[in-house]
């Protein structure tokens, strides 16, 4: 990889988004290129700063999100039960009708 290619990929390299192949090529380039190393150092500092600024997920927010899913799942189950109930009701009526017809 030349400096231009490394320059373009450095943010992704620093963010950890590259596969091992490209990561190895960039590491090899950085070992011999002071200018790109300097750029990488800048990006690493920015990444650390970014990490410190990233809002933290409060535990209660996480729990609320999961509770909502649980409630949603419960209401889906209830709706499915309701549909099943209706189907059973229809079947029962049909059976009853058939029975009456057979009796006649």
């Amino acid at each position: 990889m030349n400096c231009d290619e490394v320059y373009e990929l450095l943010p992704v390299y620093v963010g950890g988004g590259l596969g091992s192949g490209e990561r190895g090529q960039i590491a090899a380039h950085l070992a011999v290129c002071g200018e790109c190393r300097r750029e990488a150092a800048l990006l690493i500092r920015l990444r650390l700063a970014q990490r410190e600024l990233a809002p933290i997920l409060p535990e209660n927010v996480k729990k609320s999100a999961f509770r909502l899913i649980e409630a949603q799942k419960r209401s889906e189950s209830l709706a499915a039960l309701e549909t099943l109930n209706q189907a059973i009701g229809v079947t029962r009526s049909a059976l009853k009708l058939t029975y009456e017809l057979v009796k006649i």
Partner: protein
């Protein structure tokens, strides 16, 4: 509560079970990604709004997980869903003028960041605080871009998938952004 058995399972296994309706598997899976999704949302919303938008996002993910086609990574898909929910939120608040899914990052979701403005910069500034100050000076779209690359660990292609913005545009924005940050860090950068 997430069972230990789920904690040890791979994303793939959890995804498969969650897609079949296992809420425990879903929770274990989301436990791994919710922090990055929330932080992303909270870049653009107040803490209270971010909590609501996260709930909407998780609900949409739960409802859509059986249809997740794995064409993108799970993280990219989650961030794309979060972005859609953020944009829905702003649309609902009639802030759509600042929100254009197909448009440029700086205009894409609008609002300026006002996290921790100023005070911690008063004395004893370290290198990292200088970098933090530089980041804080960026607009919302620029911070979104560096968050997705630095914190979420996405590639340019994945940022494109998550945001709908072409890869070339993302690369050129990143390049311009780096030049700006270099300027903002001034002598500090030259001392590296």
């Amino acid at each position: 509560m997430t069972l230990p058995i789920w904690n040890a399972a791979s994303d793939e296994t959890l995804l498969e079970s969650a897609a079949k309706g296992s809420q425990r598997a879903f929770e274990a899976l989301m436990d791994r990604y919710m922090r990055v999704v929330y932080s992303y949302i909270a870049l653009r919303a107040s803490a209270a709004d971010a909590a609501d938008i996260l709930q909407e996002t998780m609900l949409a993910v739960w409802q859509g997980i059986s249809g997740f086609d794995k064409r993108s990574s799970l993280k990219t898909w989650l961030l794309a869903v979060a972005r859609r929910k953020l944009c829905d939120f702003y649309r609902a608040r009639q802030s759509a003028r600042e929100l254009s899914m197909s448009e440029a990052f700086p205009d894409s979701c609008g609002e300026k960041f006002d996290i921790d403005s100023g005070e911690d910069m008063a004395t004893g500034i370290t290198e990292r605080l200088d970098a933090a100050a530089a980041i804080k000076s960026l607009d919302a779209g620029e911070r979104e871009l560096i968050y997705l690359i630095f914190e979420a660990g996405l590639t340019y292609a994945e940022v494109s998938e998550a945001t709908g913005i072409p890869v070339g545009t993302i690369k050129s924005r990143m390049s311009a952004l780096r030049a700006r940050l270099r300027g903002l860090l001034g002598e500090d950068y030259n001392e590296l």
